[in-house]
């Protein structure tokens, strides 16, 4: 399969209306002949429409995942716009949601750490959201086995095992000291790294396919 080699960065400006008029005409002309770029623009506009009415601030609410796809914030949207690649829109949303989740839970986690206390319900909720987000990315990777080379998959599996081992050890220690805020923070930090690793592996799969 061949991909259009046109300058895709101009599509961002075209989609959000910031492209200078002199360049806009050229893009318009290109779009008449290029279904790939037309699809790209349509996806970008859909994403812009989905994010346009969002608050500029995302508070670390506790029911994040259920509504996260509709509440993507500026940082996640920016990362999408920087790399208009060959992702399906569904995968883009998952990746953006994973990034937004990391930002939001990290904020909550740091607060917990500073307050030197653990709120069991909040901790369980944060952990569940990380697990769900990671499961979604892992499902996407599994559904596209040709996306990662064998060597990259070995690296991914090895590092996931390392993280999972660390999670297991920290969880066991936390079970013995359930009020230890530092331990709770360590557990969530490992889940965050797991999610971040899967996100990068998904990006790597895009490069390798």
């Amino acid at each position: 399969m061949t991909h259009c080699m046109a300058d895709k960065t101009r599509l961002d400006g075209f989609a959000d209306g910031t492209l200078p008029a002199t360049e806009r005409a050229a893009v318009t002309e290109h779009l008449t002949d290029c279904p790939e770029c037309r699809r790209e623009v349509a996806e970008l506009r859909a994403m812009l429409a989905a994010t346009r009415n969002l608050s500029r601030e995302i508070l670390p609410a506790r029911d994040l995942w259920s509504g996260i796809e509709g509440r993507l914030g500026a940082p996640a949207a920016r990362s999408i716009a920087r790399w208009p690649g060959t992702h399906s829109r569904g995968l883009r949303v998952i990746l953006a949601a994973a990034a937004a989740l990391i930002l939001m839970i990290t904020g909550g986690m740091l607060t917990t750490w500073w307050q030197q206390r653990v709120e069991p319900a909040a901790f369980a909720s944060d952990r569940a959201q990380y697990q769900e987000a990671a499961a979604r990315l892992a499902t996407d990777l599994a559904a596209n086995p040709a996306g990662l080379s064998e060597a990259t998959r070995r690296v991914l599996d090895r590092n996931l095992r390392i993280i999972d081992g660390a999670i297991r050890e920290a969880e066991e220690a936390l079970a013995e000291e359930p009020g230890n805020a530092a331990l709770a923070g360590m557990v969530l930090a490992r889940y965050e790294q797991r999610l971040e690793l899967l996100r990068r592996a998904t990006d790597a799969g895009r490069q390798e396919s």
Partner: protein, 300 residues
């Protein structure tokens, strides 16, 4: 003896033949285009070696060679936004390799997808973004910000920049230079950071390896360092005014920086805290199985 001579002759011919096949499969690359000084330039190379250097001309220049399945190097776009990439013969198949030397305008905003290639960038004022899967990545020079993400490659930054963001899984990360902010993370690779100027924000994180930081924070700077399985060593000037929170769930701390009497244990197991000077900066360090080591760094 004749048999041996024949074998030697056959091997020599075979080597010559395979070498000439390899030479025949190579393609020279020589491309050039005018480009604005701060153009957005996107480059992709699946494997091989890529050297990118900023220069004082308003143009992009590409030289090198393509090997194996790499069929061409395409360069297109406008003066403000260009895209160049290695094309391979079989989509989704084995990657073609390239050895490229690219010059860019000094303030170019360069984004590189490097796959398994080794990358060296010498920046002079723009921004640098590299995303790869394996292969060593080295960034040097002056940049507004630098972002490097890879899975299996070592990363080295030796730069003056406002922000540096570095992610690897298996690779070792080494950062030197002058930065306002640094965010570096690995899973199974060590992090070695030596700052040559004050830094405002540092976040260092790994899972199974060690972290070493040597440098000075700004007055209200913030340093977070965390690992699960390794030691964390901080070398800070004794004059540092900071609020310290240290966690070593395993072997504890080794403190050669402040008076032992100032260090308070608790509230939970493996935690220590203390304040030095005016306490304006914040230092949070956590390791599950490793030791936290505090050492004095010579004052500048």
């Amino acid at each position: 003896m004749p048999l041996r001579a024949n074998v030697v002759r056959s091997l020599a011919l075979l080597a010559l033949a395979s070498n000439s096949t390899a030479l025949a499969a190579q393609h020279a690359v020589r491309e050039g285009r005018p480009a604005e000084r701060d153009a957005v330039i996107r480059l992709s190379i699946p494997a091989g070696f890529l050297r990118v250097t900023a220069w004082e001309r308003d143009s992009i220049d590409v030289r090198g060679r393509l090997d194996g399945l790499a069929t061409s190097f395409l360069l297109g776009g406008s003066m403000s936004s260009l895209k160049g990439g290695v094309r391979t013969a079989a989509a989704g198949g084995a990657a073609g390799s390239a050895d490229l030397d690219i010059h860019l305008p000094r303030d170019a905003r360069v984004r590189i997808q490097s796959g398994a290639a080794e990358v060296e960038v010498t920046a002079a004022g723009g921004t640098v973004e590299v995303s790869g899967t394996s292969g060593r990545i080295r960034i040097a020079g002056l940049a507004e910000w630098i972002t490097v993400e890879t899975l299996d490659g070592n990363i080295e930054l030796a730069a003056v920049a406002r922000e540096g963001t570095v992610r690897s899984a298996d690779g070792t990360v080494v950062v030197r230079g002058v930065l306002d902010a640094l965010d570096a993370s690995t899973v199974n690779g060590s992090l070695y950071v030596g700052m040559e100027g004050p830094i405002a924000r540092v976040r260092l994180e790994t899972v199974s390896s060690e972290i070493a930081f040597k440098g000075r924070l700004t007055r209200e700077g913030r340093l977070n360092a965390e690992t699960h399985g390794g030691d964390i060593e901080l070398r800070l000037p004794p004059s540092t005014g900071a609020s310290f929170h240290l966690v070593s769930y395993g072997p504890g701390i080794r403190n050669e920086m402040v008076a032992p009497a100032a260090v308070r244990a608790g509230p939970a197991k493996g935690e220590w805290s203390f304040t030095t000077g005016d306490g304006a900066a914040t230092i949070d360090v956590r390791t599950f199985k490793g030791r936290v080591v505090l050492l004095p760094k010579a004052e500048e």
